[in-house]
Amino acid sequence: MKRELLRFTDVSVRNENQEQMHQINLMFREGECHLLWSEDGTGRMLAGLFKNGGRILHGMIHIQGREQKECSREVFRREKIFCVDVRIDLMESLSLAENMFLLRPNSMKKVWFNKKATRVRTKELLSHYGLEMDAGQSVDSLSEADKVLLSLVRLADQHAKMLVVHNLSFVCNRQKMAQLLYVLKKIKEKGTALLIYDRHPEFFLDLADDIVLVKGGTIVKKYCDRKQFEQHREKYEKTIKEERQCSAVRETESSASYCFRWTDRFGNQNNFTVFPGEILYLYAESREEQQRLYRDLLEGNRFEILLTNDTRTAVCRKVQKLMKYRIGFWGADQIEKELFHNLSIRENILMPSMQRISRYGFYRNSEKFIFSSRDLMEGLDEIESTGGFTDENTFKILCYRWKLFHPRVLIIHNILSRSDQKMKEWLSGQFLEMAARGTALILLEVSEETALELADRVI
């Protein structure tokens, strides 16, 4: 009989981004493989729990029968439960074999390092997992996929009890994918439990014992039958396709438009147009793909935005000058950095608009006038009474900041996906208000459900 490794009993947990998962009941036994999938991207929260940890709000987590009071990365690592995603850190000053044998707890009594033995052992290990790499090579020449494979082998060699595999298909081409599946199969045969979260679950169906469907931060269904799951997925993909087709029809001609053009790292030319008052959803199949889209858009070559209205066309060719053309960017990754904790809440809201309110920075009179408009910031008193920059207030202050700034285009990156349900609803209302006032909103969101509800157009 397979031994139990990890058990979630009625667990509600909140991660560092204040996203919450509810009532998770899941058991992992040695040599078992669960495939995780979600339409709204919340499945990544469960996988991410093993990497970044979280706070247990309710329920119990048992690791090998022992109750755990903490749900942190350190606890999981101590129990040899590791998470592998596409970001693999290796020591570039060491060779591949040295990375394999030194990135682990070693006895301090060992003094002499036997280079030859480590190389031979690494070669043996790599050939066992069907990998053709030179044990003496430098790791900075390895591709992302090779680093992932190397990391999996390294953890397997450290007798990992469970591996959480997070969106690895993102870095793999067809050949590397086959290698990845082979390595995972070998690891599974060794008795290691696997939890796989991937935006392309179809690659891992042969490996999985069951498929866990997550929606809205909770487990809604378990598929033991592969065909049932495939039917469900087909239905979902059809809905997305239909939505895209409808959006293409809805695209209207307008006198003013903002056309984004850029060349991505592979030399492909991309472009899209957004109209004033429109909410556009740039759909990406996975979080990583979306990050790539975002990076290409804002860091790509030959970047330009054509701002066209009735009378003239302005061209913005530098990302650094976006603000000059009133094109704003609001990203979840740097939400904490955007606040100035040494300034008051009102000053934080006024900050980027200050130059427009008063050229010389004397904005006190205008400030009174601005904040007397309750339509613009109806919840400001509430924020000030609660005081401080709480998570909820941070979102609200930044949202008010953008409302006051009134940008032509606002690029929103994972703001909705990061917030909880209540905040999502509040933000959706605010975005609709901004759109009604003529701001074009571009959504780069992982949470498809909310973005699809809000968007006028999907591309």
Partner: protein, 302 residues
Amino acid sequence: MKKIINIADSYKICFLLLLFLMPAYVSGIPAVRASFFVRQITVMILLTLGVSLELIGGTFDLAFAAQISFSALMAMVCMMNGCPLWLVCIMICVINAALGCLKGVLLVGLLMPSIIFTLALQAILTNFSAGIAPNSGIVLKELQSIYRERMGMGGEILLVLLGIVAAFLFLEFTYYGKYSRMLGENLSLAKESGLKCMQISIIVHLFASLFFSSAAILLMLQTGSSNASLGENYLYRVLTAAFLGNVGPFGGRGKVSGMIAGAVIMVLLIATLTGKGYLNRWETILEGLIILVALWAQRKKK
């Protein structure tokens, strides 16, 4: 041949400088004696090895010069009070080892920024040394005769060779050498991998302090005196030598061959400048420029 080209490629700045400096050195300053050259080069190599080991382990040390002055001065005070030479040498080692331990604990255990910490340590040690000795320092002429009789050039060269072999073995053939590279390159990943980072840092600093101690003893014996600014001149010289030798300020990287090449070039450079009659400030300006260029080149490479 391929290997030579590779080495030349790694240390191209060093080789280029050597190419220009050697003829200038040979033709320009024939009056410089071999003993002067050996004395300079031994101290420089020992100090460069020590500082480079710390740099590889992620510590940017600005206190080593003050550290050698302080330990040598304390030793001289003890000698004046009748302590034998062997005991004084042990004392220098103990002082440097204690300071090395302190660096290891505070820099990795408490994650203090190395530049600020070592700068503060330098200020403390320099002023403390200035407090316990007169401005002219302490002079014991008999030390020079002891040095000539018992040690001489041969002993110095032997000591340096031992140091080079020890540093090479430490970096290439011990777990601690590899660990120190890991600490320097990515401390958080090293911690995550289960390494006992503080212990390793202490060991690396203790090992580096051996080189500082040797340099302090050599300087003390060569000059037969000690004062608060005994090692002051070496601060920028040694850092320049380390950077010239391809030892990165970002930690993790560096080879013993590079360290030696850097030290030799610096000695040649200083000797050439001094021989040609340029003032000390030109030397310092040049050192500063080399540090900036080396940092820029390494950042670009990274």
